[in-house]
Amino acid sequence: MTFAPALTTLILFLAIGIWIAAILDAVFYRRISGQGGVSVLSPFYAAAAHLSRQRLTTEAPDRLNWYLAIAGYLAIATIGLAVVPFGPETAVIGIKTSVVLWGACESLVVVLVFLHGWSPNSPLALIGAYRYVAIGLPIMLLSMFVLIAAALPARSLDLRDIVASQEGLWNIIRQPLGLPLFLLLGLSLTLRGPFDYADSADLAGGTSVEDSGANRAGWQVARLAMLVGFSAIAASTFLGGYLGPILPGIVWLAIKTLILMAVVIGLSHLLARMPVARMLGLIWKFLLPIAFVDLLLAGLVALA
């Protein structure tokens, strides 16, 4: 695929992905709370409802950073999806260091969520922002070890080569600890479930407490876009991306992305969120050592 069709595919993938993610979110929520079904058009209704309300602002906010945070989050999600190969040697951003670019995107997400909480000049939003930084940074470290371990068999930092190296065996089997740890990163990047320290209920919405109208709609759309981008990256790194018999590559990628999105959304509605200090202890004392072990195993396998 050349650039223009790849870009169109990207935009379609993202748009449809956001819509499906919103529906899946509502479906899981309804099922677990014991209520009935969900209308397929409900995301559009919700978006229209948000857009129909005026955008109010607080006193002395940091307006530039507020809009930058929301727009930037969406942009980073798009870049994340752009790195994913849709077919052999076809990715909208096809560089040799695409895994490092994804890492840079992860770190920028932490920056943008912080700015989102900082900008409204509101205490609950600010608490959400810096609490998230305390959790987001070590989770990012975790993901870097996992990605390096996934890059070792491919002998390349290019996501296209990582997918190509899974022709024989998917990374989820070769590197069993990788995907569970990577899914935790997904929960943190999309501010969901057990890692939702930025927008949590105990802060009345955290960094989004002062968002109204179009800003609110924008932030929610950006979160869902990040979910789509992250799931596509995880599908490419661990489930073989576009590889698969009979159906065209992009369909396989879509199926695998859908499965991972459902898993992430399911986890976010099922698992409880512990207080920050406890979670910090868990990450540094338990999860990071496991990530080291994962890297060690991948290294031993690569040397063998």
Partner: protein, 338 residues
């Protein structure tokens, strides 16, 4: 756009007052409504129960935070003077249909949006006393935009000089028991000092559902509110979520006798029979100081009303009555902090 928007559930922010109807806690079960956690996401402010006179300025500030187009509905309460044209619902009217109709008329424009009750201007002059307009203590201090700047104070845990922020956290916060107003001094998100400005209302909240919401499980909270009939599924989901392990052990324990974990167990397995706590002489200071925000919210919401009212009555209240106007549901404190 308006037609699409009217298909979505009505976003309502509930401001709970004294003698709120028992159904208030169960409003979230109705699928045509969404009870939102911040007034910025709401179109309708639902005032359930009488708001005492001391909290009416807070209600007006809260009202101004809803984005336009907005409306207020008073449920089992008299509208306040400034909001006398708001819709009122008595006990026997169908609240949900009134809310839906109000929202539709807001969207179509037939019900005009309610104007601001308070002036949209900073309460104080910005310009301070220093040569650059600042508060006079070097580059810092003073009250820019009418808000006292947080100045350095030693953290009581390790003596580190950070900035302590004091504010009132208001009666309508969704994670507070309704009616409770606390003046908290925070270092970051750790509570350093607490005093009670207004006691919580005596009502029938569902503490188990509140705790589940705080622990990131709003769907399970709804299930709990629906009723204990889904016992097996609910127990399985609670076990699967690891929520009991998520609560730190020994939280909110001494000198009460039971910690949050045990109280949470009681609330989710046997809601009608909350655990007994010994509240003689225990104040919020003993329970909350040194806890970070999330843990403090868990502790606050784990008590049943009577115990919580007794504990709050044991806590000191601030001598300073001076409050600055503020456009959030908390307000800055002048006086000793600046």
């Amino acid at each position: 756009m308006a037609k699409l928007a009217s298909q979505a559930p009505v976003p309502v922010f509930v401001a709970q007052g004294d003698d709120a109807p028992a159904e208030t806690a169960r409003l979230c079960l109705n699928s045509t409504l969404t009870i939102v956690e911040t007034p910025r996401a709401a179109a309708i402010l639902l005032v359930a129960g009488t708001i005492p006179a001391s909290l009416i300025p807070n209600l007006h500030r809260l009202h101004d935070q809803l984005p336009h187009p907005r409306a207020t509905v008073f449920w089992q309460a008299e509208p306040t003077d400034l909001l006398s044209e708001a819709v009122t619902v008595r006990n026997d009217d169908n609240l949900v249909s009134v809310l839906t109709d109000t929202r539709s008329s807001l969207l179509s424009g037939s019900h005009g949006t309610e104007a601001d009750l308070l002036p949209d201007a900073p309460p104080n002059e910005w310009r301070g006393v220093g040569s650059h307009g600042q508060g006079g203590k070097g580059m810092m201090g003073g009250t820019p935009y009418g808000r006292p700047m947080a100045m350095t104070a030693a953290d009581f845990r390790d003596g580190l000089e950070l900035d302590a922020y004091t504010a009132d956290f208001g009666p309508f916060l969704p994670m507070f028991p309704p009616g409770l107003v606390l003046t908290l001094t925070l270092q970051g998100d750790v509570i350093q000092k607490v005093s009670v400005v207004h006691l919580p209302f005596a009502g029938e909240g569902n503490a188990g559902a509140a705790l589940l919401r705080l622990l990131g499980l709003p769907a399970l909270a709804k299930r709990l509110l629906r009723g204990p009939s889904d016992d097996a599924d609910f127990k399985r989901l609670i076990r699967l979520s690891g929520v009991r392990a998520a609560i730190p052990p020994g939280l909110g324990c001494a000198p009460i006798g039971s910690d949050v974990r045990e109280r949470f167990e009681r609330l989710t397995t046997d809601p009608g029979n909350p655990s007994k706590v010994h509240v003689d002489g225990v104040g919020l200071g003993d329970l909350l100081i040194g806890l970070e925000w999330h843990e403090a919210m868990l502790v606050l919401n784990s008590f049943d009303d009577e115990s919580l009212r007794a504990i709050c009555a044991n806590t000191s209240s601030p001598e300073l009555e001076e409050k600055n106007g503020d456009s959030m549901d908390h307000e800055g404190h002048a006086g000793h902090m600046s």
